[in-house]
């Protein structure tokens, strides 16, 4: 007699007070002071709870967290290659389906969460992520977005903004903007192309209650979900560590980042500013953009403006604020 696989139902919270006090991403890790991804991990771990299994494809949230021969994960966790986070998660989920069915594991299906960076999610790990989404595994894929391959010393990734200086996109005479390419739109890679996916969301470490709820909604939905979390990186973006949350909020205020949910074809938006600030606001606080000219900034502004106004997003677009400051 096969045992039915039961899943967990995670509670949606209303405010900071309801953020669980218990730490599952415990203090004692080698991440930078003020690390956005570390904060992201802490919040996602609280969202997922004790009955979870986390996966860490190679990246900052692997190397910095587990140096050396120790980890800050109070829940079960495994390293994966940067290439195969989605695949290993699929194997774990398949194993638990059969182990529960056969009565070998007596609990509910653990919340299986991949914590991948830019590369592990939509560059070298894209294939495995997409396949996990396609096959319908009941697991969550979280992408912490620090807009670079940070762990190897800040190299460009497909999430690095246009004009973002990295050690592979240094500005110079031949390439004055440093980075010529515009970034991928990660959630849009998932939305619409994977029939088994019902929930895709973007979130930011600047908005922790919203972040926790989106992770929980993703876990609650049957099948695979994808949550893309903006996690500013003081080292890579070159700003003072104390400003991590300020930068996260600025991104939203300037339209560089939009918090939204896509549920079964319907979009809803959170934290939309009444008036968008110019992207220059976001860029001036980070040395990685210092080399850009007005022409470059204008290109960036045009890209962001178009993104905010993208068709299919049924929202009122507030008028964009003045380009030049007073």
């Amino acid at each position: 007699m096969a045992t039915k696989v039961q899943t967990q139902e995670m509670e949606i919270i209303k405010n900071m007070r309801q953020i669980p006090q218990e730490e599952l991403y415990v203090p004692g890790h080698r991440t930078c002071a003020g690390c956005g991804p570390a904060l992201c991990y802490k919040l996602v771990a609280k969202a997922a709870g004790k009955e979870s299994i986390f996966l860490g494809p190679t990246g900052c949230m692997y190397v910095a967290n587990t140096s050396y021969l120790c980890t800050p994960f109070a829940m079960p966790w495994t390293h994966t290659q940067i290439t195969n986070g989605g695949a290993v998660a699929s194997g774990i989920e398949a194993a638990y389906q059969v182990l529960i069915r056969k009565g070998k594991y007596k609990g509910k299906l653990p919340n299986i969460v991949v914590m991948a960076g830019d590369g592990g999610a939509i560059d070298i790990g894209l294939q495995a992520m997409s396949a996990m989404m396609y096959r319908g595994h009941d697991a969550l894929f979280v992408m912490y977005d620090n807009e670079s391959y940070a762990n190897t010393g800040i190299q460009t990734s497909p999430m690095t903004p246009y004009g973002g200086k990295t050690t592979f996109t240094p500005p110079g005479k031949a390439v004055p903007e440093g980075k010529k390419l515009f970034p991928k739109d990660a959630p849009q890679l998932v939305i619409g192309g994977h029939p088994a996916v019902h929930y895709v969301a973007t979130a930011s470490v600047g908005y922790p209650v919203d972040l926790i709820n989106k992770v929980r909604k993703g876990l609650n939905y049957k099948g695979p979900s994808f949550v893309h979390i903006h996690s500013p990186c003081p080292k890579g973006w070159i700003f003072d560590a104390k400003d991590t949350i300020k930068v996260a909020k600025q991104a939203v205020e300037c339209g560089m980042w939009t918090n939204y949910e896509w549920e079964n074809g319907e979009y809803t938006y959170q934290h939309i500013p009444k008036t968008y600030k110019p992207v220059k606001e976001f860029m001036k606080g980070q040395e990685r953009f210092n080399h850009l000219t007005e022409e470059h900034i204008a290109k960036m502004q045009a890209f962001i403006t178009a993104k905010i106004k993208a068709p299919g997003k049924p929202i009122e677009i507030p008028v964009l604020g003045p380009r030049e400051e007073g």
């Binding site: 415990v26 003020g34 994960f73 109070a74 922790p208």
Partner: protein
């Protein structure tokens, strides 16, 4: 023909790795990576001003702020705080300020052998 394999190994304790590099999970903290000695400044709280908004608790990447057991006061953990100063920035009540770590008797910089 003799076998010629040594099967007696002496692996020094500090280099030992558990089988398959699988280690037990930590419970409340990871003492093998104490990072309190990174900071040059530490956050100091004025409990009178604090509104218990829990911003410092939510935004600290190193979970150095928690509500005490009674739920009445914020408690700071000196062992892991890296002195990033995010908490001071996000406090809406101006209840947190940065102080030089050297000013504290038990300050990390003053310890003969910090960890």
């Amino acid at each position: 023909m003799s076998k010629k394999y040594n099967e007696n190994f002496n692996i020094p304790k500090h280099l030992e790795v558990p089988m398959g590099a699988v280690i037990p999970a930590p419970v409340k903290e990871q003492p093998a990576m104490k990072t309190g000695n990174w900071r040059t400044e530490r956050p100091v709280i004025d409990h009178e001003k604090c509104t218990l908004c829990l911003n410092c608790f939510a935004y600290c990447p190193d979970s150095s702020w928690h509500l005490d057991e009674k739920g009445e006061r914020m408690v700071w953990n000196p062992i892991y705080c890296k002195g990033c100063r995010v908490c001071v920035e996000v406090c809406p009540a101006d209840a947190l300020r940065n102080e030089n770590e050297m000013d504290f008797k038990g300050g990390m910089a003053r310890l003969d052998k910090p960890y």
